[in-house]
């Protein structure tokens, strides 16, 4: 991968465009160059041949150095066409639309070598061919010698220029067309490659979001199809394993629920017996009375634990049901405190008239739990305050104890979590806050634990008022 954030499509586009451009540039460039050479060579050869032909058919020279009249006569002959010419001898010359100084100097030097020479140059912006030659004299033995008469003629190359420009325009438009074609092809190829990639990405995302039944469509037999196949196998294995884990977890929960249910009946009988024992314990002597009271207490704890486990099992099984009613929240909280005998120990701030549609039994469980915890683990004074705001009821239970340590705060709602490992068993199994949280959630609300800025922990229950009928 390069440093550029080019997508697959971008890279394909770039590669195709490069390929198209390079190919076209090479082909068009080479054929353009060839065509230009051919066009120029043809034009030059024709112009040179025409001048040579005209010069070799001149009237015989009678005098050397030539008289001005003779030079003029030759100039008149060689400039019959539209092209400018000049005939020079030494420093003298006969112009016909051309001054010798306009000629390229290298050409003038080369003419003296006794060959026909030509050169392209720019004359006032027009590409022009300058042809120069000496007039030779034939000797008796057939060899030739220079007479010193130099003939120059210019031939404008604008027609050729136009042809070549047309060629160049053609090459450019061919290049543009091939670029467009390459881009189209690249888009087509990118679509063919990207569609399966996109589908695979979508499937992976669905899998990541938890839909384990997602499968990618396997098309064809290319590398992408192989990736899709592996993806499907992975997803299948994952689904099987997660399913197994869920089944095991459900089995474990069902086991707990079943055990709790099975324990309930004997516990009810035991409770009845221990109630009798409790009443009699006063009359029992010494250790026997202590033992009776201990059995009675532990039986109550066990019964509470079983009730809590049954409640938790219901939440886990999703069978916990709300039975909502329009209740005055302040009155409900007061009733909870009164029934537990806490009215004297708890400071309240409970404005009347806050009516919400809640399950009174579950509200009782939550409040009793929070207040009970505050009384047990925090320090007096414990305050319960009620506030209604924006479709929500907020119940805050705070104490003035040392507050919650950060590592406790993170786990305070976990099941069987005990902040103080040395705490006595009689304090409960550590399911109370977990049940309170599940109850809050069941109402569509939240239960948050925190610390007050001074000291003490504060548990805040927020539940929507529902819509009071």
């Amino acid at each position: 991968m390069t440093g550029w954030a080019l997508g697959l499509r971008g890279r394909l586009l770039l590669a195709f465009a490069m390929l198209g451009l390079t190919t076209t540039a090479l082909v068009a460039g080479v054929s353009y160059g060839q065509a230009r050479t051919v066009i120029l060579q043809k034009a030059q050869d024709a112009a040179v041949l025409s001048l040579v032909d005209e010069v070799s058919r001149l009237d015989p020279v009678r005098q050397l150095p030539p008289s001005p009249e003779q030079l003029n006569a030759i100039a008149a002959v060689v400039s019959t066409g539209p092209d400018a010419a000049v005939v020079a001898y030494g420093d003298g010359y006969a112009p016909s639309g051309l001054h010798p100084s306009e000629l390229p100097q290298p050409l003038r030097a080369a003419v003296r070598e006794g060959k026909v020479v030509w050169q392209r140059f720019s004359r006032d912006g027009t590409p022009t061919l300058a042809i120069g030659t000496q007039l030779m004299a034939t000797r008796g033995d057939g060899s030739t010698e220079p007479t010193g008469i130099e003939v120059y003629r210019l031939h404008p190359l604008d027609d050729e220029q136009h042809s070549i420009e047309a060629l160049a325009a053609l090459a450019w438009s061919t290049g543009a067309a091939s670029l467009v074609l390459a881009v189209l092809l690249a888009l087509l190829a990118a679509r063919g490659v990207l569609r399966p990639v996109r589908e695979l990405g979508r499937a992976a995302r669905r899998l990541g979001e938890g839909d384990l039944r997602t499968r990618a469509a396997v098309q064809g037999g290319d590398e992408l199809a192989g990736v899709a196949l592996i993806f499907n196998q992975t997803a299948e294995r994952l689904e099987r394993q997660v399913g197994e884990l869920r089944r095991m977890e459900a089995d474990a929960r069902r086991f707990v629920a079943d055990v709790s249910h099975e324990l309930r009946t004997p516990l009810a009988a035991m409770t009845a017996v221990t109630d009798v024992l409790d009443e009699e314990s006063e009359q029992l002597p010494g250790d026997a009375g202590k033992a009776a009271r201990l059995v009675s207490q532990e039986t109550k704890n066990l019964a509470q634990l079983v009730e809590d486990l049954i409640e938790i099992s219901r939440f886990d099984a999703g069978t916990a049901a709300l039975s909502r009613d329009d209740i005055d929240v302040a009155a409900a909280i007061r009733a909870t405190l009164r029934s537990r005998g806490w009215t004297e120990e708890v400071t309240t701030s409970l404005p009347d008239g806050v009516v919400a549609r809640l399950d009174p039994r579950r509200l009782d469980v939550i409040v009793a739990n929070l207040v009970g915890n505050a009384l047990r683990h925090g320090a007096a004074p414990v305050t319960v305050s009620l506030r209604a705001a924006a479709g929500q009821v907020e119940v805050a239970v705070s104490d003035s104890g040392p507050g919650l340590a950060p590592d406790v705060l993170a786990h305070v709602f976990d099941r069987f979590y005990k902040a103080d490992s040395a705490r006595s068993r009689s304090d409960g199994a550590g399911l109370g806050l977990a049940i309170a949280l599940e109850n809050a959630r069941l109402h569509g609300g939240t239960l948050v634990a925190g610390n007050r800025s001074a000291h003490g922990a504060v548990f805040t229950l927020r539940v929507p008022t529902g819509d009071p009928a």
Partner: protein, 155 residues
């Protein structure tokens, strides 16, 4: 430097090459075939231009070798002098006697041949060959002789 940048540079160079090569561009001097030759008429003499023998034509009727050599010895006329032509042939080389020895032409001058400069000898040989043909020319006077010589090929 990564790959796309290098590719872009290559494409850019190619484009620049294409753009630079467009249109009709000036060339160096291109050399073709031999310069065309035309017919000449009149009396041919060889004078010297910038250290090289150079043909001149006088628009005269054909004449005898003696007269031509006299013309040569008389040197360039004003027009020729104006064109920068000179002569190294001294006066009094004519009259001459023309004979032959084998293939070569023997021309006996009226003056001594040994003091003649190289250019003067070439002038005389070329002028003689221009009227008498291709045979090698030997210049003699008494016992002295130069040659046999050919008029050098000129570009």
């Amino acid at each position: 430097m990564n790959r796309p940048i290098r590719l872009l540079l290559a494409a850019g160079a190619l484009l620049a090459l294409l753009l630079a090569g467009c249109g009709v561009r000036p060339s160096d001097v291109i050399t073709g075939g031999a310069a065309p030759a035309g017919a000449v008429e009149g009396v041919r003499l060889y004078l010297v231009s910038e250290g090289e023998p150079m043909v001149v034509l006088r628009g005269l009727k054909p004449m005898k070798l003696d007269d031509i050599l006299n013309l040569l010895a008389a040197g360039p006329d004003p027009t020729e002098q104006q064109a920068g032509l000179t002569s190294e042939v001294p006066a009094g080389i004519a009259p001459v006697k023309v004979g032959s020895r084998g293939d070569s032409l023997v021309v006996a001058l009226s003056t001594e041949v040994r003091p003649l400069s190289v250019l003067a000898v070439i002038q005389i040989v070329c002028t003689v060959q221009a009227i008498a043909g291709n045979a090698p020319v030997t210049l003699v006077s008494g016992e002295q002789s130069r040659g046999p010589l050919q008029c050098p090929a000129l570009p």
